[in-house]
């Protein structure tokens, strides 16, 4: 038997392949393209306490090697999620993580309290790294102190698996991850998009209304791979590697440098069935190489010192 299972917190993933937040919708559309019995899981779009209207267009532009997005956390709020979406996804057979985007500590605590009364999902991915939030007060990831204040005590609110999603655009992320580990978080999702921008030369204007946007896709893979490698050295809890994964080779690279599992974002937009395809091709690869357990791959990088 080839064993692809990995464990993060209390959650066992059937394969280390997860759909990333913002690129997996609520899982509903994804279920039409992937057999959820054969993938690790997915992370929902970001949920905010109250309904949040998204950003003005343009929201997506393709650039060389990837895409810039400025979606702006569009969602109907936590109550709507509990009433209208959770009932539709709760029986899905893969792991389901709810991505939470707080604007304050109160926000975060209220959301978890409301959600934690319900069943039908595996855990939370606390997202303090949205590239489309320009208000300094809620840009927790840019400040170690603000992040500490926000995350302190979250563990006491829930028994479910707790992940923290961090940005590669701030050096603070490594210190914040160490703090989260001490606080009892079960894993670090790394990396979110890189903050970038785009100029319309004709108009001499920024293309995005917020100026900045999140850069993702194949061009970020070498950057995220190195960041994930550094993160694996910084914390002992599992690191979920994210950034530009489009094929089996990309996935293996992240696992080899020590990611316990991986998330796919842009890859899902291009190929909505990629989660099942990568899970299958990983299994085939292991069979071919006579690797019995995925643990033989994770962190197997040979370092020449």
């Amino acid at each position: 038997m080839t064993d692809l299972k990995v464990k993060i917190g209390k959650t066992t993933l059937k394969t280390p392949v997860i759909g990333a937040s913002g690129c997996s919708g609520w899982g509903l559309e994804l279920s039409k393209f992937n057999d959820f019995d054969r993938i690790g899981g997915f992370v929902t779009k970001s949920i905010t306490l109250k309904k949040k209207i998204g950003n003005e267009n343009p929201r997506i532009r393709e650039v060389y090697g990837g895409i810039l997005n400025s979606i702006g956390l569009e969602n109907n709020g936590v109550e709507y999620f509990v009433e209208n979406i959770l009932p539709q996804i709760k029986n899905y057979k893969c792991a389901k993580f709810l991505n939470l985007a707080p604007f304050s500590k109160d926000d975060l605590f209220s959301m978890i309290k409301i959600l934690d009364r319900n069943e039908g999902f595996d855990g939370y991915e606390v997202n303090i790294s949205c590239p489309n939030i320009t208000n300094k007060k809620v840009n927790f990831n840019s400040s170690f102190d603000d992040s500490k204040k926000l995350l302190k005590g979250v563990r006491d609110l829930t028994e479910k698996t707790l992940l923290l999603k961090l940005s590669p655009s701030y050096n603070e992320s490594f210190k914040i991850a160490e703090f989260a580990e001490k606080e009892g978080f079960d894993g670090i999702s790394f990396t979110n998009t890189y903050i970038g921008t785009l100029v319309d030369v004709e108009k001499r204007e920024f293309v995005f209304k917020n100026i900045q946007a999140g850069f993702s896709g194949p061009a970020i893979k070498p950057l995220s791979l190195f960041n994930v490698y550094k993160m694996v050295k910084s914390v002992k809890i599992p690191v979920i590697g994210i950034g530009g994964i489009l094929n089996l080779n990309d996935l293996l690279e992240f696992l080899i440098v020590g990611a316990t599992a991986c998330q796919i974002g842009t890859g899902v937009l291009i190929k909505p069935d990629i989660l099942e395809e990568l899970s299958r091709s990983l299994e085939e690869y292991m069979k071919e190489k006579k690797i019995k357990n995925i643990k033989e791959i994770i962190g197997s990088i040979k370092e020449r010192l």
Partner: protein, 238 residues
Amino acid sequence: MIERVLKKIFLTDNVFLLEISRSNREDILLGQFASIKTSLKDKILRRPFTIVRNEKNSITFLIKVVGSSTESIGNFDKGDFVDILYPLGKGFKENLDYENTIFVGGGIGIAALIPFLRNVKYKLIFGDREGEYEEVLKYFSLKGLHCQEKKGKFKGYPTDFLNRYDFDTIVGCGPKVMLKSLKDYSVKNDKKFYAVYEEVMGCGVGLCNGCSVKTEDGDFIKLCTEGPVLDGKRIVYD
């Protein structure tokens, strides 16, 4: 899904017809589209195109070359493989009273109207800025008022000719400025207005909220799953 090119013909210098095999048996509704992935290294996202014809064993697109993906699709040859997802979008299910409906197309926007104009009697105004769509109209046997911006028998914008017809409903597809003036007209004259809308898409299947369209009530709707045919009076065209 992988399909194969059956036929490709350039009808004008930069507008071509692409017919490919159809292995997907799902019903294809009016207004639905497909998204095609090219093998270009500098374009990773799929590109959306209206399904203008669907037969038992084939589907057809009418595509204008505007950038590198459309150029690369234009280079497909008979027998080539096509990486494609279809049918996408919410089909148009309302009952149209063709007697009282006017179709208004601008430029390549005509592609989205073609599926509506098959085997029925219809009224059509087609705006063709440069007068380059003659062959397209001929190929699809489209009949209607064919106007051009600066020359020809009917000189002007499509909206200049609306008052020649009786109708209570408009179905329009074309540049945003045209749709905007159709909205203004419909609001002023109390007409129903369906816009077949376009927006840059991320996934085309409802995963990313990249294709959101702003509405009058300050909200957004996802074009790829709620459209592309929308209530044209609800849209904010900016």
